[in-house]
Symmetry: C2
Subunit: 200 residues, 2 copies
DNA sequence: TACATTTGCTTAACGGTGTTAAATGATTTA
DNA sequence: TAAATCATTTAACACCGTTAAGCAAATGTA
């Protein structure tokens, strides 16, 4: 019964095609535009067929995320194995993480809940969105005795602050954080640390 | 023609009601569940009426975001004015930012693109999602000469790393970042800084 | 070979979405 | 009182995820 095997192989291939089609659509049109019917179009079937391979749309997203984590993990291992000193390893691993995020934008968005959905391009043009930056940079300038609020120094410092805090926040909002105690410690350490680099 | 004014006031009130209803629904059921018909239900009208106040659904989201930025800005100003020393101001302002995020989860999610949509609860249960943490914590433990990989110290350090990098990444993915030069500098500074706190 | 069963796939449908156009009915204007 | 304007609703379109029913070809069985 080798024909059984062939059929099984074909089935496995279709499953793969579905995932590839999904990722392709997401890359071309974003997560928002992904639909069962579009996937079906790409693999040249009709939508209900997909339900023979995945329970529902979420299952497809989940599998894509799973593959994302696997890919990231592989790259992290490679980065680690490029060095012997832990400090070097760590540095390379985080750089690899960084590069992974941009080389696989869509996957990263899915894995860590960074949404481009909504009306984000418009948000960027929202005048009110710039207000917090103005508030912070004024204080940073004061603290560092810098008058030129347009300079890169203030921008960089603000950016550093924002990254830690926003990173911490969004990780917590996706409920992937740890205890409140650790949160407080990280927040205090990070903010205190950055402030120290600015005053000394 | 005082009746004109009354009607205008009513219109303004309805506009307000729409926004309130939208926020209420989002708070109760999440962004995903927000629909024009549901908003209409709450304000006791039918859906098409909403289009006399907002061009489309995105315009409602945008206005909610706008209000979010205004609220955050107000709170930041208050925090600043509680102190005289810039260092203290900065500390309080970031703490205020932090508190705002959790006191206004939904608004923050909208403002900064933190999506709970997708299948995020499931992602948390994905075994593969824990792999990167394991990889990193092993190296951190090695670097700090700690054998107990379950301890809070490693967890905290990993968390700090992750927050900066993920924060930086997600800010960039939402295209609210600055130049590549600044990115590189922040990344290098932050990672290097944290590594230094671990070795000395 | 002839019939029955299974398989692969599609069509049709349900209830939902954002959005628009037409219809309705009340209110204001002339 | 007749005409015009306004607020509001109903109906519709095209899409969405998902399920059930139908169909036609391939397979198993006699």
């Amino acid at each position: 019964m080798a024909s059984k095997d062939r059929i099984l192989r074909l089935k496995e291939e279709t499953r793969c095609n579905i995932l590839e089609a999904a990722l392709q659509i997401v890359k071309e049109e974003g997560w928002q535009a992904l639909s069962m019917r579009k996937i079906a179009d790409v693999i040249e079937y009709t939508a209900p067929i997909i339900y023979e391979y995945f329970n529902n749309k979420d299952a497809i997203l989940l599998e894509l995320n799973r593959q994302g984590y696997l890919k990231l993990s592989r790259e992290l291992v490679e980065a680690r194995d490029r060095h012997r000193l832990p400090a070097k390893q760590l540095e390379d691993m985080w750089l690899t993480y960084w590069n992974f995020a941009f080389a696989n934008k869509e996957l990263y968005q899915g894995m860590f809940g960074v949404a481009t959905s909504c009306s984000c391009e418009m948000v960027n043009k929202l005048a009110e969105a710039a207000k917090p930056y103005e508030l912070f940079s004024a204080v940073i300038g004061e603290l560092m005795n810098i008058d030129d609020l347009e300079g890169d120094v203030i921008c960089t410092k603000y950016y550093t602050f924002w990254s830690v805090v926003h990173g911490l926040v969004s990780i917590n909002l996706l409920s992937r954080g740890w205890s409140d105690e650790i949160n407080r410690q990280v927040l205090k350490d990070a903010i205190g640390g950055i402030i120290r680099t600015m005053t000394t």
